[in-house]
Structure formats: structure tokens, C-alpha cells
């Protein structure tokens, strides 16, 4: 097979006859082979992929220390537009699953990537997505070892949907167990809230605005490892993606049967994110994040965990935002900036801009 040289976004040779994805690319035949070889295998560049077996066979024993456990997670990504300030669906696809694993204390080992492509998607865009995934995977220290490609008819997909599954290793001695959550525990946020969702909003048709807001999509397993080293008895970790911190905190409160109190003045939000939320009438607590986590830690460990977080770029703006309480079980309550209290309800559906 010819060895092509793609330059940037120009139509890659052997796919020069197909600058856009066609149904045949999902057919399993020569076109699929070309796409997989020249887009995915070229970007992900992994011996397991190159072996082109139906499954990737891993030597797990070598990776799994005595007392260690395996963690598995999967995530699907559907985002419009595919490319936005600070990243792309490729970054989300890798970091999303890496972070799901990280919330259990796992170090990610390998990812799989399934693609559903829409007929008509420019191959150049697909190359950009694949390259973004490769870069994110390298940054996260994780390998993409298996994949699949299907194509749906024009109009039946948003360009590309990506599903990633990940396998990771939970080191011995790490047991993040929400059953241990108790009143007095401290709620920490690893950094500013609302960046990702507002970055998407800033390029959404009809709502677009100019700003310096960029998506915060990053892998968090390094941050988690540092946190666990500082305090092995961390109770819970959660990444506040869809539904924002409000959804994550409500889930935790319900799961653990406790009340949570947060202080509005402690919640870190970058000024342009706050401004964009003002204009569109959105609450930063309900806006998605892709490179942040919330942690429930025992009070005696909070200071050490915060110090460990702030030493790393991903935790530079880490701060305590509240605590677990015995009162109002399963409810999240916020102390407002003017000293009153209000419930932060579980969001219902997508938060929409309002005029009222």
C-alpha cells in the first residue's frame, strides 16, 4: 500500500478521490481500510493498532501490581461544533474517558475509539479530530489500541460521534468509597467552573460572542494521584460535566444521603465566564466542565490536598467551596453572596439562555 504524506488539512493522498466521507468508508472494504490506515492508524500510531487484529491483546499482569484493580469506563461524545476555542471533540473523547477512570483513582492504560461518521464530513476535519485525539492521548500517557468506524447517511449524524472506552489501573490501597462521606467533610473544586460550556456557547449559532474563554479539557489522573498521595482517605471524586457542579453535587448528596452546603463567594469563576453567563442568563453552577473535579475529603486532610493540588497546573486554582452537613439530607444548599441561603436544585434538562 502506498505511503501517503498528508500536509495539514489538504486532502490526503490515496483519499484524494474522496475529500468527504462517503457511505463506502463504513462498508468494511477497501475504502474503510484506506480510512483506517491513513487517518486513524497514522494519527494514533500504535503497534497494537498496526497489527490489525480484531481485538487488542494486552499483557495486563505486567501492568497490574498485587492488590491493584482494573477500572473500566466508557463515554460518548456528541458536540456541536466539532472544533471550539481550546479544543475539539477529539480532546473531549480522550480526556473524558481518562477522567472517568481518574475519578476512581485509576491511571489510564488504554483507550478504544469508535467513530460514527456522517456522510459528507470533510476528511480533513476527521484528520484534525484524529490528530487531536493522538495529541491528547500522548499528553495523558494513554494508548489508543482499538477502534471501529461506521458511516451513517447525510443528515443522520452531527459530523462525527466518538465513543471511547478506557481501561485503567487502580493502585493498591486506593479505595474511593462514597459510603465514607460524613458531615464535616470538605468539598473542594480543582479550579474555575463553567469554562468548557461557555467556550462552546461562544461559538454556538445565534449566541456567539467574542471572548478569551477556552475549554478546560485536560486529563486529571496526575492531579488525582497527587491528591491521593496527600490524603489516601479521599471519600469521593466527581467530574462535573453535563449539568455542571450543581448536577454533580446533587448526585453526591443523593448517593451519600447527606446535605451539602456551598458558599457562593468561594466558587471560582473566571470573569469572562461570569460575564458571558450574565449576558445569557445562565448559572455557572449548571455549566459543563471538562477538566475539573469536585472532591469530598475528610476535614483533617483538606489543607494537605489543596496544597498538593495547587502545585500542579490542573489544580492551580483549587479551592474549598463548602462542606458536607447533617442537615437537609440529599439537598444542596448555597449561602448566597448576600448571606441568605437557597437550594441548588438538580438541573432538569439543558440550561438554556433566557431573556427574563
Amino acid at each position: 500500500m502506498a505511503d501517503p504524506d498528508f500536509t495539514g488539512l489538504s486532502c490526503p493522498a490515496p483519499l484524494r478521490d474522496h475529500p468527504q466521507v462517503v457511505l463506502g468508508h463504513g462498508g468494511g472494504g477497501a475504502l474503510t481500510h484506506e480510512l483506517v490506515t491513513h487517518v486513524f492508524r497514522r494519527a494514533f500510531s500504535d503497534p497494537l493498532l498496526d497489527s490489525l487484529g480484531d481485538a487488542a491483546v494486552l499483557d495486563v499482569a505486567a501492568q497490574l501490581p498485587p492488590g491493584g484493580q482494573l477500572a473500566v469506563s466508557t463515554d460518548s461524545h456528541v458536540v456541536r461544533p466539532l472544533f471550539f476555542p481550546g479544543g475539539s471533540i477529539g480532546d473531549l473523547a480522550v480526556n473524558g474517558t481518562v477522567n472517568d477512570l481518574a475519578m476512581s483513582g485509576a491511571r489510564p492504560l488504554v483507550l478504544t475509539a469508535g467513530f460514527i461518521l456522517e456522510e459528507g464530513l470533510p476528511v480533513g476535519d476527521l484528520v484534525r479530530v484524529a490528530e487531536a485525539m493522538a495529541a491528547a492521548a500522548r499528553a495523558a500517557g494513554v494508548r489508543i489500541v482499538a477502534g471501529d468506524t461506521k458511516v451513517v447517511e447525510r443528515g443522520r449524524g452531527d459530523g462525527v460521534y466518538v465513543t471511547t472506552a478506557g481501561i485503567g489501573v487502580v493502585p493498591p490501597g486506593v479505595a474511593i468509597d462514597p459510603a465514607g462521606i460524613r458531615p464535616g467533610d470538605v468539598v473542594l473544586a480543582s479550579g474555575t467552573l463553567g469554562d468548557h460550556g461557555m467556550a462552546i456557547m461562544s461559538v454556538r449559532e445565534g449566541l456567539a460572542f467574542e471572548s478569551t474563554i477556552i475549554s478546560d479539557s485536560v486529563p486529571l489522573h496526575g492531579l488525582v494521584a497527587a491528591m491521593l498521595a496527600a490524603c489516601p482517605t479521599i471519600r469521593m471524586l466527581r467530574d462535573p460535566t453535563r449539568g455542571g457542579a450543581a448536577a454533580a453535587l446533587n448526585e453526591i448528596a443523593t448517593l451519600a444521603g447527606v446535605g451539602i452546603e456551598i458558599d457562593e463567594r468561594s466558587i471560582p469563576v473566571r470573569p469572562p465566564v461570569a460575564a458571558a453567563c450574565e449576558i445569557l442568563g445562565l448559572d455557572p453552577l449548571l455549566v459543563a466542565n471538562e477538566g475539573k473535579l469536585l472532591a469530598i475529603v475528610p476535614a483533617e486532610g483538606a489543607a494537605a490536598v489543596l496544597a498538593a493540588m495547587r502545585r500542579l497546573a490542573q489544580g492551580r486554582d483549587a479551592v474549598a467551596i463548602g462542606r458536607v452537613v447533617a442537615a437537609h439530607p440529599r439537598l444542596v444548599v448555597m449561602r448566597t453572596a448576600i448571606g441568605a441561603t437557597r437550594v441548588v436544585p438538580m438541573p432538569i434538562g439543558e440550561q438554556l439562555p433566557r431573556i427574563c
Binding site: L331, T336, G339, G349, I355, C356
Partner: protein, 363 residues
């Protein structure tokens, strides 16, 4: 953000609340008209700072609450048509009509788009000449200038594929209707600040005198609201009932005259049905005869869609402050934020929705 952040200071809020506490000698019920004010009161917990004697009654001030059920049904009918590109503010997407909402129309294949401004709808009409682009024009007088200019722009550019489903509503007739309604407990009003940025304050002085209620034009930030409430309480304690402007940085007596002129050209008064209150004469705006060609109701032949509110719903009484949400038998049972029966539960600002969420900790 300048001209916003300064009005959120906690210490000053506490002092204003203390001042109100010193002023008050008997119970008063104050209604804030605008949904944005209700949102701010609930979101910041402003009512918790007030002495027990001062009760805030949440008025019918959000587009969700006041848009008649039949307008929603007409919107759903139009949005479901294959040749239509339907544009709406985000607020309206989850408002239930008789059968579903705009979200569900979208799920069923309707082209429904959230826009930030009516100008976005005009742009879509420009870009999609082969589609019928319809804009759902709801809101108080604050939003009418935007709708009006959008229609003028569409005319100037010859965008014959553009039309609007209009359901604008007016504050002064609503205040009058609430005060005249039997069982009302409202003693004073906080008039909607941004509505008055457009319309000025002139309509309110005779209203205050005739209805014998203080009307205080008030802003939206915590300090603005507390200043407005304090002014209303001071008037009530002194037995006065006047118009007062507590939002001078954004409101003048005459308002925005260029905006008023365009409104007068594009819109004409009409009787409007308000969810939970009923028909209030002259309380709405429709497209004027000169701009009728842009009226989506006529263009799509939906004017005869008429629907009835749920018989269980008592939001009208809640809106006037005659009953509390918990006194409605359907509250929390047939009627919840996920399965709302009427205006006051549909929107997160509605008194019933607010009570549902926040009443759990405040009893």
C-alpha cells in the same frame, strides 16, 4: 462587571435590610412585577433578609408565566411544519402547551432554534430564503423595541419569508387588573426597571394615584431591590401612594423615545389573555395594520386555535397573592416543575416553582 457588581455588596445589603426592619410597624405585601426581579430575589435569597412583616408576592412578570396557552399551541403548530424554521428565546422551549412543547417538536424533526436576539431570526431569514422563518415575539415592553426593529428590517430587505408570532404584554394594565381583582393582597408594587428604561415612568404616576398604591421603579441587583423595597415600605408606613424612581441610572421619566416611536409604528394595542389572570383589555401588542403581512398567525392560519387552561390550576390566585402555593390542592401532586399545570409552576421564577424548590428548607 461595572454597574452590576457594585450592587451586590453583602454588608450594604444587611444594612438596607436593617433599615427596613426599623421602618416597618405592620405587615405589608409588596409585588415585584418583573420575572427578572423574581429571579434575583430567589437566587440571592433577598426575601430572607427582610423582616417577617414584609411579604414579597411574586408577580406575573415572566414571559413563560404570562404567554397564553393558545399562543404556545399556535407556536407548536407552526414549528411542526416542514417548511418552517422556528426561532425562539430559550425561555420558551420548555413551556408546555396542550400537547408537548417546542423541545418535543424539535425531537420530532421540527427545525426549532434558540436565538439570543430577534436580529438572529432576521439573519436566518436572509440566509434561508427557501424557508419560512418565524420568530416567537414574547416579552414585556422591554423586548418590544427589538421585535419592532426586526420587522422593520425584514421589510426594508424584502424578506417575505420572515414572520412573527406576537404575544407582547404590557405592565400598567396588569398592575391595574391585579389591584382591581377581588381578593388581592398587594399593598405596593415594584415596577419593572428595564420596562421603564424603554417606556419611561409617566404611565405610573396616574396609576399610583388612581389605584392608591405606591409604585417604585426598581432594578434587579440585590441592592437595587432592597432600595426599592425600602422605598415602598417607607411610603406605605407614611400613607403615601406615589410613583418613585429607585433606578435612576437606567430609567428616566420620558424613557427611550426613539424606541417608543418605532413601537407605535409597528405595534397596536390588543386585548391579551394572561395565564392565570384571564383577559386584560388593552394589555398586549399585536402587529399594526401596516405590518400585518408579517403576522405568523394570519400567514399560517392558526388564529382559530383556542385552548383552555387546566381546571385544577389556581395560579391566578397565587399570582394575586390570594393563596400560597401550598394551599393549592394540586401543588406537589398533579402539579410539579416537571409536570406543571399552570403559569406559576412552569417557570423557575413562578411562585409555585420557587416554593417547590426552596420551600423544602424554609418550610
Amino acid at each position: 462587571m461595572k454597574h452590576l457588581a457594585e450592587y451586590r455588596d453583602a454588608d450594604t445589603a444587611g444594612r438596607l435590610a436593617a433599615d427596613i426592619r426599623l421602618l416597618v410597624t405592620r405587615p405589608w405585601a409588596i409585588m415585584e412585577v418583573c420575572g427578572g426581579q423574581t429571579h434575583s430575589i430567589i437566587r440571592n435569597g433577598i426575601d430572607q433578609l427582610l423582616p417577617a412583616e414584609v411579604e414579597m408576592i411574586h408577580g406575573p412578570g415572566c414571559p413563560v408565566c404570562v404567554t397564553p396557552l393558545e399562543v404556545i399551541d399556535r407556536a407548536l403548530e407552526i414549528a411542526g411544519r416542514p417548511d418552517v424554521l422556528f426561532c425562539s428565546f430559550g425561555d420558551m422551549l420548555r413551556v408546555p402547551g396542550s400537547r408537548g412543547d417546542l423541545f418535543r417538536v424539535k425531537a420530532a424533526g421540527g427545525d426549532v432554534r434558540v436565538v439570543y436576539s430577534p436580529l438572529d431570526a432576521v439573519r436566518l431569514a436572509r440566509e434561508h430564503r427557501d424557508r419560512e422563518v418565524v420568530f416567537l415575539a414574547i416579552g414585556f415592553e422591554t423586548t418590544a423595541p427589538a421585535s419592532a426593529l426586526a420587522v422593520k428590517l425584514a421589510r426594508a430587505e424584502g424578506l417575505r419569508n420572515f414572520s412573527m408570532l406576537v404575544s407582547h404584554v404590557l405592565v400598567p394594565p396588569a398592575i391595574a387588573a391585579i389591584m382591581r381583582s377581588p381578593g388581592t393582597r398587594v399593598d405596593a408594587f415594584l415596577a419593572a426597571g428595564h420596562v421603564c428604561s424603554v417606556m419611561g415612568t409617566r404611565q405610573y404616576a396616574p396609576l399610583a394615584a388612581r389605584l392608591r398604591v405606591p409604585i417604585v421603579v426598581t432594578g434587579f441587583e440585590p441592592l437595587d431591590l432592597l432600595v426599592g423595597i425600602r422605598a415602598a415600605v417607607a411610603q406605605l408606613e407614611a400613607g403615601r401612594h406615589e410613583l418613585e424612581n429607585a433606578f435612576p441610572r437606567a430609567v428616566t421619566e420620558r424613557g427611550n423615545e426613539p424606541a417608543q416611536a418605532v413601537i407605535a409604528e409597528v405595534f397596536a394595542p390588543v386585548d391579551r389573555a394572561w395565564r392565570g389572570i384571564g383577559t386584560i383589555p388593552g394589555s398586549g401588542w399585536r402587529l399594526s395594520d401596516a405590518y400585518r403581512e408579517f403576522d405568523a398567525e394570519a400567514r399560517f392560519g392558526v388564529a382559530d386555535i383556542a385552548t383552555a387552561e387546566s381546571a385544577l390550576c389556581r395560579s391566578g390566585e397565587v399570582l394575586k397573592g390570594a393563596i400560597k402555593p401550598r394551599q393549592c390542592p394540586a401543588f406537589g401532586r398533579e402539579c410539579t416543575p416537571r409536570t406543571p399545570l399552570g403559569a406559576t409552576m412552569v417557570s423557575s421564577e413562578g411562585a409555585c416553582a420557587a416554593h417547590y424548590h426552596y420551600g423544602r428548607i424554609h418550610g
